[in-house]
């Protein structure tokens, strides 16, 4: 483990789905023994937040640009329950690799 990992969570309004996803990400990081700092933003703010927050990983519940050059995960499985275990594993792997 090499220090705190930064995760940016993006959704339409930065309040509802992002908060649900943020809680899940904190939970899985804790289980995996990874220290994370989680910041939420609106989809429209994503580029600005990348510049200021410099996240290792992005989890979004809304479409985001494809040229961000940071691993981006679709966080909707945290809401639907479908594919959640795979997503958890992928995020943990990306955080460890970051």
């Amino acid at each position: 483990m090499n220090g705190e990992k930064r995760v940016l969570i993006a959704c339409g309004t930065a309040i509802a789905t992002a908060t649900v996803v943020a809680e899940k990400v904190k939970e899985i990081a804790k289980e995996a023994g990874i220290t994370v700092r989680v910041v939420q933003c609106k989809a429209a703010e994503i580029r600005g937040r990348i510049a200021t927050f410099n996240p290792h990983v992005i989890v979004a519940t809304t479409p985001v640009p494809k040229d961000l050059e940071i691993p981006v995960f679709n966080g909707v499985p945290f809401l639907s329950g479908v594919g959640m275990d795979e997503l958890k594993a992928q995020i943990v792997e990306a955080l460890k690799a970051a």
Partner: protein
């Protein structure tokens, strides 16, 4: 950060009593709709008639759905959770429609894909913090095995109110 306090006095008063989120007159079962738009409009019309939302709710929810789709590819039965921003809401409540035949909603987070939806939960939430809590409870409920099939198979509004009451009580 404490946004919109002045607008939220009604919501605060309401949240002190135990909140029932779904009422029988806000449940449409079985529901026939031609499209997501039609389903949102029908549920919005119920919300409006009951005085739970402003007239601006329907156009706001339709516009939001176009920008940020709310179809969830949940197991067993697809669900959508259309909603509008808090400023269009007067009193918080959920209107529920159980469609006889599914309609396609855009998939949340995936603009190229749609989800066949049979359960539409139109959320009227007057406080953004409460939307988060509500969403967490709804997500847990959607992920409980069998619950969505139970809702999709319910024969009466009373039965649906019972299922929601059981799963999403908020203080």
């Amino acid at each position: 950060m404490v946004p919109h306090w002045r607008k939220m006095e009604t919501a605060q008063k309401q949240s002190k009593v135990e909140q029932r989120w779904v009422q029988e007159n806000l449940v449409i079962v079985p529901m026939q709709a031609e499209s997501a738009r039609d389903a949102i409009t029908q549920l919005g019309t119920r919300l409006q008639a009951g005085g739970f939302v402003k007239d601006s709710w329907i156009p706001a929810a339709l516009e939001r759905e176009r920008t940020f789709a709310t179809g969830l590819p949940t197991p067993e039965v697809g669900v959508a959770i259309p909603h509008a921003d808090v400023e269009h809401v007067l009193e918080q409540v959920i209107a529920v429609g159980v469609l006889e035949k599914p309609v396609e909603f855009g998939e949340m987070g995936n603009p190229d894909s749609t989800v066949p939806v049979r359960i539409v939960c139109a959320l009227a939430v007057a406080r953004s913090e409460l939307l988060v809590t509500l969403l967490q409870r709804l997500v847990e409920m959607f992920q409980s095995p069998g619950v969505l099939s139970q809702i999709a198979g319910a024969g009466s509004p009373a039965e649906i109110v019972g299922i929601f009451d059981h799963h999403i009580q908020l203080e």
